[in-house]
């Protein structure tokens, strides 16, 4: 029996909508402080080099330069990082990737500084450049970080059952290799931060486009050698993040703070798009090898998975990103025998870290492609093979976690999507057309032997024959929140005013996803007020407890839980006031609804919520409370990769329908039906927004987006080359929510942000297979990939007509 809500689950307009549509919302670069200086970075055009000397003589006495900041200015930690401290705030001995920064010029005119930075003379000795993680793992490969034993960042192992026996018992074995590219977050707002030195012993106050203020605070405090309480981080309105404004903002904040303390003036750093793409971290490029043993009846017997993740120059979140991969790499399929290795590796490529999906979009692309190949080999439909192997209540995951105590509704989301789209019939119909796409060779082969490519009369295609329809699906399970990654707890501060309005602040951050609105709904639901009565405070690390980062699709689950806890504390205090006021027994229950409160058994006797707050205030009742929500304990044995990795899971299924133009290789996404189980939908508009956004980014991942590197240098530095989806690129997106029962979070609400993204590329790839009869192994499925099965890159770095 589902609970009846008055606000939860309904479409509620955004609490921050007004400031955003009027252009008044203050993003970091919209904030200017009198006397502020700008910081501009000094880099050298090299991917891997030993720094021999740095000569500032041409700039140090220049009137436009107020200060030069470099590693020598750092009183505390010179290298930082969330897990391993391997990333210098300013490079001093080596440069290991082209985004690396040696120093920062500080002055009043950003424009002047941009010209002057080229005058800093850096003498360096180039070192061999490693861009292939497989080569970087070889024993004779040069070390990117000489203080470490090898270029291996992390190696996660998962061992379950006996894979060799499993393969021996299998009727068939399928072995395939897939790759995925680096992906840029491409948050629309480039990075910006302003650090203000405070009076006396007050330390420094930093405002910026910061996703995880508490993480930033830790890093800045370490770099400055300050106690945490002397660093206050305030989040400006954030123009998108998607996991991306974490490490880069920690480092930019540290640089701004150093400069502010050195000059005694506010210092702003704001990146242009080119700086942003050059220096910020990416989603990991993966190399995935899967070997799957299965029987004639479709049952999977064994999986051996070998994944290599390109961590780029610094470890950042690689150990955690690849950990999610090892937990979820089999997909949501019962498999007795599993052997998984996931290795994260240093290269001289741009470093990689957290990005929406966090180690799941890559294995899902591989695993879901292979599941379709198995189905095709056995003459089954994709939904049949998933019904046979998919998780059911009581199934055991690859990590040995028995799925219970929540709705294991993988098959429900699958059936919902399949029925809604008429999947099986469409899939079979397209499949019958057989292999239609010719195997084109690479261009150089064409020019060497053009014979097969000269079109003859028989090659003529009727125009409608050029377009091929395809349908494909992908399913996933996903562990919610941080799991065994670390401490998982969130604070929320709720303060009722005498007139019934309220301040709300959680320790998690609004990254544009609509968290303020979601929390306002949660508080309003408990107190029977309107979300409009709740005023959300700006997040400042000085005002609320450390709640960890806003990541892992944990905001609704954890922060919603904390908000509900705070609201329930206050509600219970108000109930006590009312019991006394109305002389009711201690067990009397109340209904809080529509800004009114009444006894459950006597709806006639009412008091306005505002009046009740006033009454409580005048009785000296504390009307402010801090709610706290901590995740239950999870457990992980890293030697064999076994344990209940996450305390609960969500399930999703997306069906993509595409049209492939087999003459040009263009794939158009006609429709994506996205069926997700977010537990309970708190904010319907926000939930739909998450699906639209996730599917759109997922389609970009599947079809267009790629950060390609040439000797470590990124080719795509702006949106003319890095193509993200526009309003015209994707057809209809249909969000469907299948809600389930769960004991955690506010009324069982769980995760949605990342599940919506991780499936789309895989569903599209399967749809393209269905349309063309051909399997594609390398994302993105852009025109060249479809026609030539390879990527073409410009040979010249010149841009435009230059």
């Amino acid at each position: 029996m589902r609970k009846k809500f008055s606000i939860v689950g309904k479409p509620v307009v955004r609490r921050d909508g007004l400031e955003k549509v009027t252009g008044q919302a203050k993003f970091a670069d919209d904030i200017n402080v009198p006397g502020q200086l700008y910081g501009v970075m000094v880099r050298i055009p090299v991917s891997h080099a030993k720094i021999l000397s740095v000569d500032y003589s041409a700039v140090e006495n220049h009137p436009a330069v107020a200060a030069i900041c470099h590693a020598g200015d750092i009183p505390g930690a010179k290298k930082v990082g969330p897990i391993k401290q391997d990333q210098p705030v300013f490079c001093y001995d080596k440069v290991v990737t082209p985004g690396d920064v040696i120093a920062m010029l500080v002055g009043e005119s950003e424009e002047e500084l941009l010209k002057l930075r080229d005058l800093v003379k850096v003498e360096y000795e180039p070192l061999p450049v490693l861009t292939d993680p497989l080569k970087a793992l070889k024993s004779d490969a040069p070390l990117i970080h000489p203080d470490q034993k090898s270029n291996l960042i992390v190696h996660h192992r998962l061992r379950k059952g006996d894979v060799d026996a499993g393969f021996a018992e299998s009727d068939y074995i399928l072995e395939q290799t897939y790759t995925t590219p680096f992906i840029e977050h491409a948050y629309i707002e480039p990075e910006a931060v302003i650090a203000v030195p405070r009076e006396g012993d007050k330390g420094v106050h930093i405002t910026g486009s910061i996703q995880n203020p508490f993480t930033t605070r830790k890093i800045v405090a370490k770099v400055l050698g300050f106690p945490l309480a002397k660093v206050r981080i305030q989040q400006a309105e954030l123009g998108g993040s998607f996991g991306g404004k974490d490490d880069i903002m920690n480092i930019l904040s540290a640089r701004a703070a150093l400069a502010a303390l050195k000059t005694g003036r506010p210092v702003k750093i704001r990146y242009r798009r080119e700086d942003s793409i050059l220096e910020s971290y990416k989603r990991h490029a993966y190399h995935l090898h899967y070997k799957v043993g299965f029987n004639k009846d479709g049952k999977i017997k064994a999986m051996k998975i070998d994944v290599v993740a390109d961590g780029g120059a610094y470890s950042s979140m690689t150990p955690f990103v690849t950990w999610r991969t090892v937990v979820q790499a089999t997909g949501p399929y019962e498999t007795e025998n599993v052997w998984t290795d996931v290795r994260g590796v240093y290269t001289n490529n741009p470093y990689t870290g957290a990005m929406r999906g966090f180690g799941s979009p890559q294995p899902i692309f591989a695993q879901e492609s292979i599941m379709d190949e198995i189905a095709i080999q056995l003459g089954m439909t994709p939904d049949e093979i998933r019904r046979i192997n998919g998780f059911k209540p009581g199934s055991v995951t690859a990590t040995g976690h028995k799925l219970e105590n929540h709705d294991v509704n993988l098959l429900t989301v699958l059936e919902t999507a399949v029925t809604k789209t008429g999947f099986s019939e469409k899939w079979k119909k397209n499949q019958r057309r057989g292999k239609m796409l010719p195997d084109y060779a690479a261009l150089e082969e064409i020019s060497a032997n053009p014979g097969p490519f000269i079109l003859h009369k028989d090659d003529f295609l009727e125009p409608d024959e050029v377009y091929r329809k395809g349908i494909g699906l992908a399913v996933s399970f996903r562990g919610c929140s941080l799991g065994a990654e670390g401490v998982d707890a969130v604070a929320a501060y709720l303060s009722l005013q005498q007139d019934g309005s309220a301040y709300l602040l959680s320790g998690l951050a609004e990254n544009g996803q609509g968290m303020r609105t979601t929390y306002s709904i949660v508080a309003a639901e408990v107190l029977g007020i309107s979300p409009d009565d709740v005023f959300y405070l700006d997040l400042d690390t000085g005002y609320v407890g450390d709640s960890g980062p806003t990541v892992a699709s944990r905001a609704t689950l954890m922060g919603g839980g904390a908000t509900r806890a705070a609201a329930e504390i206050l509600r219970s205090r108000l109930e006590n006031v009312l019991r006394q006021h109305w002389n009711l027994p201690e067990n009397a229950c109340f209904v809080f609804r529509d800004r009114q409160v009444y006894a459950e058994n006597n709806p006639e006797r009412k008091i306005a919520f505002a009046e009740l707050c006033d009454l409580a205030y005048n009785q000296a009742v504390n009307l402010a409370a801090i709610g706290w929500y901590a995740g239950p304990k999870v457990h992980w044995d890293e030697t064999v990769g076994q344990g209940p990795a996450y305390f609960t899971y969500v399930y999703g299924c997306q069906v993509a329908e595409v049209t492939v133009n087999i003459a040009t290789g263009e794939v158009y996404v006609d429709r994506v039906v996205a069926v997700h189980d977010p537990g309970t939908v708190i904010n319907l508009l926000g939930a739909q927004g998450q699906v639209y956004g996730g599917v759109t980014q997922g389609a970009g991942y599947g079809l267009w987006e790629e950060i390609s590197v040439d000797k470590g240098f990124i080719r795509e530095l702006n949106f003319d080359q890095y193509l993200i989806p526009t309003s015209k690129d994707i057809g209809e997106i249909v969000p469907i929510f299948v809600e389930g029962e769960d004991q955690y979070g506010p009324w069982g609400a769980k995760s949605l942000g990342e599940p919506t993204l991780e499936l789309t590329a895989a569903a599209i790839a399967n749809a393209v297979r269905n349309a063309t009869g051909k399997r594609f192994f390398h994302l993105p499925l852009n025109l060249e990939e479809i026609l030539l099965s390879k990527k073409l890159h410009p040979t010249s770095k010149n841009r435009g007509s230059a």
Partner: protein
């Protein structure tokens, strides 16, 4: 699962009422914001030989400025006039976040020199507010949730305004086409399109 829509059951009057006080406050703020930096600009202008005088008409008000010839319209709007609703994202004429109206046409203000806007009428997102009234597009973007992080939103709304000025009753195809020059990484496109169609309906 069918759920009752709260927002769609609101009448236009109720919707406006809900936003009334916030808007009044913000108008006052705008006036202060645009008054202060102007003073600074004029002072600077007096002793800089590289600058060229510019009479710039923005949101119905004429500003007497003095700018370096290489400065873009976006820079002057954001920095000299402190109208920070206009955003610079790619500075490359690719993303549309800096979209403003120039004589009623949508332009990428990062790709126009400020001097080239002389004698023309510039409208920014701040100019869409009519006193205490949200513009129908602004209302529609709130009501239809055509926003996530909000950074591209001013550009989206200005592009939509140019579209509706030309074609007050656009079909969905026209809106998809007309809005395709504005990137939204949050992927709010379906709701942005709905917002524009909603505004066209109520305008």
């Amino acid at each position: 699962m069918k759920k009752k829509s709260v927002s769609s059951s609101l009448s236009r009057r109720q919707f406006l009422k809900g936003f009334g006080s916030g808007v009044a406050g913000s108008v006052a703020l705008n006036k202060i914001a645009s008054a202060l930096p102007l003073q600074k600009t004029l002072e600077k202008a007096a002793n800089d030989a590289n600058r060229t005088p510019l009479n710039l008409s923005v949101n119905g008000k004429t500003y007497r400025l003095s700018v370096e010839p290489n400065r873009t319209l976006a820079e002057v709007i954001r920095e000299d006039l402190q109208l920070t609703g206009t955003k610079v994202v790619c500075n490359h004429g690719e993303c549309g976040a800096c979209t403003v109206l120039l004589d009623g046409e949508a332009v990428y203000s990062c790709h126009i020199l400020a001097l080239d806007a002389e004698g023309k009428s510039v409208t920014t997102i701040e100019g869409l507010l009519g006193g205490e009234e949200l513009h129908p597009l602004q209302k529609a973007f709130v009501k239809k949730d055509g926003i996530q992080c909000g950074f591209c939103t001013p550009g989206q709304i200005m592009a939509a305004q140019a579209l509706l000025l030309k074609n007050p009753r656009p079909a969905k195809e026209d809106v998809l086409e007309g809005m395709s020059g504005n990137l939204c990484r949050c992927g709010a496109y379906p709701k942005i399109i709905e917002s524009v169609l909603e505004a066209a309906k109520t305008d």
